[in-house]
């Protein structure tokens, strides 16, 4: 097990290197630092001197990959690639284009992101599983006939299930932007139950968090419930369910005692993979509700074309994704004893 984890960690190094090279190519090779300087300083009327100054200030005044002018090991270390990319591996994110310390910003902003994303995930999971279970239950409403349980679909149950699926598709077809705008308008503006947007430290944040969490859960019901329903249905068709029914368990008993635990395996592992990424926050949610998390941080960086911050966030995101993958593999062995890591 430990050996496996160590190997996986080593395996993620070339992946991170790949991410780094990709971002490096995107940011520095496609467009030279001169282009970036011009972009930052405004397109028109930029003197060569101003560009040189900007590059000097932000450390872009060295060659890209290989410094011929330097001595010894500095040939490699005095380059943009080394200074801007290798630092990321040690989680030294450097300073943003506007001069702020990115590492400190990220540390500070990760918590509000988590405060929105974690409750959304948990409540959403509960609601989605419940509604999926309900649909499966309606589908398999059994009627007793001559002492034999016959698998005939009763009329009202099937109709309810069908209505559930149609509702899911309708909910899926609405853009998340409309959920947010609609929710803010109805709950925040018309009913005035909670503030429309904003954030506060500590427990005072709760009244700001209710609405984003609610909307986040609601906008995920459509696709979530439908997805879990297919997972449940896959389990329901298996042999052990038939055995359970054959020995006389009621439909609810089979569903809760046999189907649910088995269907939880794919559900749980699906959740584990996104757990680390919760820190990254949700881009739209945070900017609509002006929550000072990492999502809105990223949006601000994109809008102000702050390359250093975007680069740092890309790296952080991929690190978290890899941690998620590793956790998924480990959680497989924990919930499903048949799986062995090798």
């Amino acid at each position: 097990m430990t050996q496996y984890i160590i190997r996986r960690l080593l395996y993620s190094l070339p992946l991170l290197m790949g991410v780094n090279i990709l971002t490096f190519v995107l940011f520095f090779v496609v467009n030279s630092p001169d282009d970036m300087a011009r972009m930052q300083l405004g397109q028109k009327h930029v003197t060569e001197q101003a560009i040189a100054n900007w590059k000097q200030q932000h450390g872009y005044d060295v060659p890209l990959l290989w410094n011929n002018g330097a001595q010894g090991e500095k040939k490699i270390t005095d380059t943009i690639f080394y200074q801007k990319s290798v630092g990321l591996f040690l989680f030294r994110f450097g300073v943003s284009e506007s001069g702020r310390n990115i590492g400190a910003d990220i540390k500070e902003r990760a918590w509000p992101s988590l405060a929105v994303a974690l409750p959304t995930l948990m409540v959403g999971l509960l609601v989605n599983i419940c509604s999926a279970l309900m649909m499966v239950l309606f589908r398999n409403s059994y009627v007793a006939k001559d002492g034999v349980y016959a698998a005939s679909r009763s009329g009202s149950g099937a109709a309810l299930e069908h209505a559930g699926i149609v509702l899911c598709v309708i909910l899926m077809s609405i853009s998340s932007l409309f959920y947010i705008i609609g929710g803010q308008f109805v709950i925040g503006k018309v009913l005035r139950l909670v503030p429309i947007s904003g954030y506060d430290d500590g427990m005072a944040a709760i009244k700001f968090l209710v609405l984003p969490v609610l909307i986040g859960v609601f906008s995920g019901i459509g696709s979530g419930a439908r997805w879990y329903r297919t997972l449940f249905l896959e389990e329901v068709g298996k042999d052990y369910v038939r055995t359970a029914r054959a020995k006389g368990l009621s439909e609810t008993q089979t569903l809760f005692r046999h189907v649910l635990p088995n269907a939880m395996i794919p559900i749980l592992t699906g959740v584990v993979v996104v757990l680390p990424q919760l820190f990254m926050g949700s881009l739209i949610m945070e900017s609509f509700f002006s929550i000072p998390g990492l999502g809105s941080y990223t949006i601000d960086a994109i809008n102000s074309q702050d390359f250093a911050t975007v680069r740092a966030m890309v790296f952080l995101g991929s690190v978290l994704y890899m941690i998620g993958l590793l956790l998924t593999d480990i959680s497989y062995t924990l919930v499903d004893p048949r799986v062995r890591l090798s």
Binding site: L15, V19, F27, V169, M172, S176, L177, I181
Partner: protein, 447 residues
Amino acid sequence: MIILWTDALIYLLIAVMLALGLYLRGKEHIQRPLQQIGCNKIGMVSLVVLLFFVLIGLLDSVHFKPADDKQNEIVSLLDYWATPLREHGEKTYSAPFATTLYSKEMMMLEDGSMQWGYPRLEFGGRHLTNPETETIPDILQKALYGWAQGASLIVFFIFLMWTLSAERYQRLTGNSTAKAVLAVVFVIVSCSYALIYLSGYYHVFGTDKVGEDVFYQAVKSIRTGLVIGTLTTLIMLPMAIIFGILAGFFRGWVDDIIQYIYTTLNSIPGVLLIAASILMVQVYMANHEADFTSVIVRADMRLLFLCMILGVTSWTGLCRLLRAETLKLREMEYVQAASALGVKQGAILLRHILPNVMHIVLISVVLDFSSLVLAEAVLSYINIGVDPTSYSWGNMINGARLEMAREPIVWWSLTAAFVFMFALVLAANLFADVVQDAFDPRRSGNE
């Protein structure tokens, strides 16, 4: 006629689809699922709605420079027909079917005195002399007139069909799916006739901040949505299919490299990769301004770039599915038999593997379409989507969002974007479901 880049790709896409249709005609294993789709009421109705959208999108993809135009701008066929809508701009916001502006202004009366009030619109309801009393009867009358035009057109076609072949007509009307399709066509055509007729006299969905007709914007956005939904797939498919099949078939180091590539791409958060690439495109376009002479060419290039970027970020999912399926297929008896008989590897790939993974490709294409349309709106909201000057539902939402705080609120832009987007995405989702049921072997007999 001027062919923009996205236009060319759309034509290519249509040509590919036609060729594929011809090639697959009469193939038994394709006929059965197609018939299953054809018998499904929901599937056919949503297909009709989709085709209606596609038709509008195609009309909007034929660009030319009008001969009599002095401004030397590129317009599409749709623009050309909607010239009154395009040119009937007001000063600022006005509500749907309104005859006056949304906000009060100082206005000059005929006798020279000044008054604080709602000025009349320049085009909306201009033909009315007394708007307070005449508006509603006039709207009803015009709507009915337009509706009757569309309805009579459909009735005429049904009549034509009946006279041409009474027998076939009988068979058609006996079928409940055909009836539903006919009803939907009737509703769509008659209602769009009514809307078109009304929009000549009123702003059916009001006007936006700079006084542009919202109905026109919403209709123009259809093309953007369709382009993103389809061209992205066109760009990503070759990559996903080739890499996926190769990785699954050859295994070994080929598999390692391809897995490495897609895990790397996957590990970068999608939005950030898109944002980074769009930032680069922006810098590139700012430095090569000479290549992008007109606004529409610029917007078109950016749309194409967006499709490419979305394609690059989204091929990994399909690639993984195809790899897994190929891994399974290569152990099948018929593939083993083919290689035992000395069939070349390339031939095995083309003749035995590729046709047998096509159902996965088809299903994922249809499933991806709606999510791409939805993604466009979100991306445009964070300013990394389509060009701000081009029409898209995301831009409409973005522009209207801040006006929700006004009193009374400006709701029409959002509503228009919502209605159009919802109709398209819902139709696509329903159709995707039906396609999946028909083509997925695991789901047949399940429902």
